[in-house]
Amino acid sequence: MSNILIFDSTLRDGNHAVHHELNNKQIAVYAAAADTAEIPIVVVGHGNGLGASSLQVGESLINDMEMIETARAKLKKSKLGVFILPGFGTIKKNLKNAINAGVEVVCVSSHCTEADITQRHIEYVSEREKEVYGNLMMTHMVSKEILLEESLKMQSFGANGIILMDSAGAYLPKDVIEKITFLVTELKIPVGFHGHNNLGMAITNSILAVEAGATILDACARGFGAGAGNAQIEVLVAVLEKMGYTTGIDLYKMLDASDVAEKELIKVIPNIKPISIVSGLAGVFSGFAKHVERISLQYGIDSRDVFFELGRRKAVAGQEDLIVEVAVNLADKRIAVEKKC
């Protein structure tokens, strides 16, 4: 059976779940545990990646470089990874410093139809002989043909692999099988999957991806991530092992690392709350959840209405400012209705 390359995004996607407030001590202790478990790649940073700390998507407690340096000091066997979304982070302000600080793997990400904005960032990493992966976000929104077209661009820029992100937790099994199978057949480079758990499908979908030929999976300890959380890494490693796949990860140490995550990092273990189910159904980026809850409360409107309206307007990741507009509109409509009554 083949080897599956595991990305651990606990210290990146998990940041969404705690308003991007992971501190140095937390990063150090989990990075050390992940390294002991020999997880191949440990990704660290703001939930939306380098340079994303902002009012728009949430401010980090500590800056990117501190997070990188803290993790760097603890990782001996595991490679240090970061995530960057062009439009938020730039080469000059962010990527250059990150690589100089010892980052070995970069996930360059874009909305699933916009891969050409990743060209210079992928090329930059590739020219510096670091590993670079092309991550396509919100991939439930488009067909397998469009995903291929965008993946081919990233492949031509020099990406070492393509990771399809189910950023809204909206994938059903047939979507995974169809899209992964198609990309695995058509691309020269490895294909991966990043699953969210809004509809309770994260582990199932990840395993289906592997069975369809994916060789990269991205997951988090205890599923620590935005909204309903991600595929739970310790479960994934265990299931893969049972199925006969290798990951190079020490299962016992992985289980220990996940305990460290629960004890040191996680305030509330991700579970599928009604709001996350709605977010998955509406096909809205899971990272919106905390903002939607806060703003809906402030404007006295039903957060579920906000999610469905955002879905109708096809909001993409990073477009959190739309939440205020939608909330203001819904609140105005409600006032108008109340006046009529």
Binding site: G87, K93, E114, I117, Q119, R120, Q319, L322, V328
Partner: protein, 312 residues
């Protein structure tokens, strides 16, 4: 009246770059009473922009900057709508010819101009500069708002600008220059607002039907005078609308989570691309009004305001 007309020759301009920006500029210039496009210059005669220019009867060339170097007398002002890296190469050549340049790229070379601020009273503020930089679409949409906020609230610690544009309106030049867009817009924001800590974010949204350009300005500030803010923002919006008719407020200033939030939408005039491409419109309208002011300043030192003016 003696019946003698004061005759003004339109300012001769050339457009370098036949992408979305360049082509949309051409359509707008053809409407201007003060400007006349003598050359529309690209690299491929069969590109969509070139085809459009030919259909509009423009003088087209596929020679790039060489066209201007070969015919330096044919234009007084050049709009450079290529890319930041191309402008770095173009500017010294145009400078040697002594030409006036309006740079549409985020090259960071020229003097940054936002008409609602820079041309507030007259053109004197920018008259001495021969390379004017139009910053970016997001910069043109947000900087007047940020500038206005800092005029009222002196203690703004941080300003953030997020623009969402339709994917269809972002051509290859915009896409390859996404880092420069951020860099240049941040610099413009700092320059005009005086705020040291700023951040700019750009989001491309592929939704169909295409979304209109939308820009959100957030400013972190304690206890703002929201009445004054609302009043001043309404005023500056009217000023911008004088040259960008599709500029409108979506969410008037609200104070939320220790920040002032203002959201505007820019609908385009639908000249080259449909009206969703407000990002093209706002930077191009800003460039046109700047060029027109420059043209007026060159030609219109009229001693008799009653004289009838004829543009040729």
């Amino acid at each position: 009246m003696t019946g003698s007309k004061q005759i003004f020759k339109r300012l001769k301009v050339a457009i370098l770059g036949s992408g979305n920006i360049g082509t949309d500029l051409l359509v707008k210039i053809q409407r201007s009473p003060l400007l006349s496009c003598t050359h529309f210059i690209g690299r491929r005669l069969n590109s969509p922009g070139m085809e459009k220019a030919k259909s509009l009867g423009a003088e087209v060339s596929a020679q790039g900057i060489q066209e201007i170097l070969n015919n330096p007398e044919d234009c007084d002002l050049i709009f450079d709508a290529t890319s930041a890296s191309d402008h770095v190469y173009h500017w010294p050549l145009l400078d040697m010819l002594g030409k006036m340049v309006i740079d549409m790229t985020p090259s960071k070379i020229g003097q940054m101009v936002v008409p609602a601020i820079s041309l507030k009273d007259n053109i004197n503020n920018i008259k001495e500069f021969r390379n004017l930089n139009m910053i970016s679409c997001g910069g043109q949409a947000s900087i007047p708002l940020a500038h206005t906020l800092t005029q009222i609230e002196r203690e703004i610690e941080y300003i953030e600008v997020v623009s969402s544009i339709s994917s269809r309106s972002a051509g290859p030049g915009t896409r390859i220059n996404i880092d420069e867009y951020i860099d240049n817009t941040e610099e413009g924001l700092k320059l005009f607002s005086g705020c040291k800590k700023v951040k700019v974010i750009l989001i491309l949204n592929p939704a169909q039907p295409c979304i209109d350009m939308q820009t959100t300005v957030s400013a972190k500030v304690k206890n703002p005078n929201m009445e004054k803010v609302k009043e001043a923002i309404a005023e500056i919006i009217n000023k911008i609308r004088l040259y960008v008719p599709g500029y409108e407020i979506v969410v008037p200033p609200v104070y939320e989570n220790n920040r002032i939030v203002i959201m505007v939408r820019v609908k385009g005039l639908g000249d080259y691309l449909p009206s969703y491409a407000g990002n093209l419109d706002i930077i191009n309208c800003a460039a046109i009004v700047t060029a027109e002011e420059y043209a007026k300043n060159l030609m219109l030192v009229s001693d008799n305001p009653n004289k009838e003016i004829e543009y040729v």
